[in-house]
Amino acid sequence: MIERLVPQASSFAGDIDGLIWLITLLVGFWFLVAEGVLFWLVFRFRAKKGEKAQYITGEKKEEMKWISRPHNLVLLCDIVIIAMAIKVWVHVKQTMPTADAKVNIISQQWAWTFEHAGPDGKLGTEDDLRTTDELHVEVGKTYHFNLVSRDVLHSFSVPVFRLKQDAVPGRVITGWFQPTKTGTFDIQCAEMCGVGHGLMGARIIIESPAAHAAWVAERSGERLARTGEAKP
């Protein structure tokens, strides 16, 4: 359903879309039944001349079953949805698979800064690559991210990943994703962050290993050229 509107580009996008499907089936059933019964009753029991309404208290046992049976069924549906929702949630938000790579995400009014590992493959070293409003990742690799904010709340949202996480000043929030599809997609800020909130977009560029390596090489060449001048 969602995949027809937004492509799936992460390992867990399918899980979340599957959960959305399941919910659609269950609540769709209830919605259609309830609407159907509602309109049928309004039509069936429309006022007719000389016909009096029935006197039903709804407090007898055989009347109550019309409420208690759907009640139990709703409860059952809820339990199924709760179980599936928690399963997906635990997978996406509560467990951290081993990382192949790391990236730092820094949000501020109204821009995104991304810190990628440089040619040494490690984050937090001298050769890190910093970019603004452009996140480069390699398809198939599992990433851990550290998400921070420099000022107000922001939210790191990548719709093709089905991933969203608020950034909170004063905290480092960790999470993970694994891109599964190459391409260039939107990153949004999904939390009201002030006047420039509507402009706080960025792009995620999911590359094949070769293309990603080429980008790293090119960027670190540029970086060396810049810092090389500064150093003696």
């Binding site: 309404a53 208290t57 709804g58 709703v74 107000v152």
Partner: protein
């Protein structure tokens, strides 16, 4: 005693502005709420035009700047919840109906009641003033998350945010006072013979809602005081650099904010149940069950707040607890709707305007209810959080609550309020235009939300995946439908004010209903009843077997001599 009341000859100011009469105070709340609804609707018009037809001057507003856009969406939400839904559903209907429906002459604290409205009026004026201060109105969303809301250097609205907060805090004070009054009045002033189970559902609902409101608002008032001190006195309650925590506000806000949804839902359900019983000539199906589901909803509503914060940076394990509680609250709500629908069974249903609104409430609220499941279940909320899907979902709950149910209530009690009938033809035209346009606003927005439109975005052109023409067409469709829905309200206003002067005169009980307010003349004089009523039966004895009339007013004395065994179930 009522004679003494009736012969007061007061001046206009004393009678309409300084009154302690619950009906006048109810009308004050109603008219203020209607005025604020016009303002909230105008705001929606302005920002919807910007979204549908970006960066073109909006007729009647001008070009919408990002700053103005944020202030418009923020205050649209704030106004519609705090200055429309609350005053109309709780205060206007509560004030007007409680003494009339429980059969007494006024609230137990009439002067407190007057004070409640006066504080409310001041709160509305403070909110209006916030648009005209340097920097403009507050634009940090109606949820006002700090640090954006707590520090002027982030929000750029140094005075606007403080006035906004002050206005909201004053509004809470007004409703705290009102709530005390409602609960005390229903506990103490019921007509002789009116036992707990003879109280009409709508009164129960207003009382439960008031209790839920009073119990949930305390933490938010504390939160608001801290926010005010952060804004104006440089404290750091929500400032992480100085040891504060921005997430604290979210807990305090939503601990109130989610029960608040049920605070407005319950009176709306109450109105709808009253109307459905009367217009299908049926006893409410399982009256006690309705009350139990309302109690269950009220209690559970205190344990669901963090479903607004699944991805806010709270401990992810907490999300599991709140997924369970949130989905469980669907059980009493679903049951309440089932009971409402079951009441129609075996009825003799007349589709007068109030009934159309009541049926539409159930039909539309169902969609709002079921779409909530996507958001309450943590796994799918990761994707839907803060998208237009959320927005469409809660408009499918709040529009039925604050618009559709309110119209059900206004069209139903209008004859009692003003002593005249509304025009049915205009009423039906208004109904169909409003309800059809409403669906054309928010069904497209479910789709744009599912496609990734996130909220509070002034201009989607910065997001290439969202700037696609097919999504823009849906946004434009929603905008056009907004204009249609807002225009349709002109019909209502015309009908409302014209019928007040020249509508058909209403008898005391034009709908042939059972509850006590229909015993009083239309409109009821000061003091309400010529003689205070005594209650002999429950409020929903419609179509009782063995009686010629298909209704049996609560105050009618039992017909002992006529047919003693005719209706053993109904009589007591």
């Amino acid at each position: 005693m009522s004679d003494a009341h009736a012969h007061h000859d007061e001046g206009w100011v004393k009678k309409y502005l300084w009154s302690t009469d619950h009906k006048i105070i109810g009308m004050q709340y109603l008219f203020t709420g209607m005025l604020m609804a016009l303002l909230g609707g105008y705001f929606a018009y302005a920002f919807r035009m910007q979204l549908g037809f970006p960066n073109q001057p909006v007729p009647g507003f001008g070009l919408v700047s990002p700053n103005e856009y944020n202030a418009l969406v923020t205050n649209h939400g704030t106004i519609m919840i705090f200055w429309v839904a609350m005053p109309v559903l709780i205060a206007a209907f509560g004030n007007f109906l409680i003494p009339l429906m429980i059969g007494c002459d006024d609230m137990v604290f009439p002067r407190l009641n007057r004070l409640s409205y006066q504080i409310f009026l001041v709160s509305a004026l403070v909110l209006l003033a916030s648009f005209f201060v340097p920097g403009g109105g507050f634009g940090g969303a109606w949820t006002a998350y700090p640090p954006l809301s707590s520090q002027a250097k982030f929000s750029l609205t140094p005075a606007g945010s403080t006035l906004w907060l002050l206005a909201v805090a004053l509004e809470f004070v007004a409703f705290l006072i009102g709530g005390i009054n409602f609960v005390t009045t229903v506990m103490n002033s019921r007509a002789p013979g009116m036992k707990w189970h003879d109280i009409p559902v709508v009164i129960w609902m207003i009382v439960i809602a008031s209790i839920v409101f009073m119990a949930s608002v305390g933490p938010l008032v504390a939160g608001a005081v801290m926010l005010l001190m952060d804004q104006q006195f440089g404290t750091g309650f929500y400032d992480p650099i100085r040891g504060g925590d921005p997430i604290l506000w979210q807990h305090l806000f939503w601990f109130f904010g989610h029960p608040e949804v049920y605070v407005v839902l319950l009176p709306a359900m109450g109105i709808v149940i009253e109307v459905i019983a009367v217009f299908s000539r049926k006893k409410v199906f399982a009256y006690k069950m309705v009350l139990y589901t309302a109690f269950a909803t009220g209690i559970l509503s205190f344990f669901v707040w963090a479903h607004h914060q699944f991805v806010a940076g709270i401990d992810p394990r907490m999300a599991n607890v709140f997924t369970v509680t949130t989905l469980l609250i669907s059980v009493p709500i679903a049951e309440m709707l089932f009971v409402t629908i079951a009441t129609l069974y075996g009825g003799s249903i007349r589709l007068d305007t109030p009934m159309l609104w009541a049926v539409a409430f159930v039909a539309e609220f169902l969609l709002g209810g079921v779409t909530g499941i996507y958001l309450g279940s943590s796994g799918s909320d990761i994707y839907f959080h803060d998208t237009y899907f959320v927005l469409a979902h809660f408009h499918y709950t709040f529009v039925p609550i604050a618009i559709i149910a309110v119209f059900a209530g206004i069209t139903y009690w209008y004859p009692k309020m003003f002593g005249r009938m509304l025009d049915e033809r205009l009423g039906k035209l208004h109904f169909w235009l409003t309800v059809i346009a409403f669906n054309f606003i928010f069904i497209p927005l479910f789709i744009t939300g599912a496609a990734g439109d996130h909220r509070r975005i002034y201009d989607y052109t910065k997001f290439p995946d969202l700037a696609r023409p097919e999504l823009q067409n849906l946004r434009a469709l929603a905008t056009v439908a907004t204009v249609v829905m807002l225009s349709a309200q002109v019909i209502f206003l015309y009908n409302f004010f014209k019928s007040m002067r020249s509508g058909k005169r209403a008898e005391a009980n034009p709908w042939q209903a059972n509850t006590l307010e229909w015993l009083a003349p239309s409109p009821p004089p000061h003091g309400n009843f010529a003689e205070l009523p005594t209650v002999h039966r429950g409020p929903y004895e419609y179509s009782v077997p063995g009686r010629d009339l298909d209704y049996w007013p609560q105050s009618d004395p039992p017909e002992d001599d006529a047919a003693p065994d005719a209706a053993p179930e109904a009589a007591r």
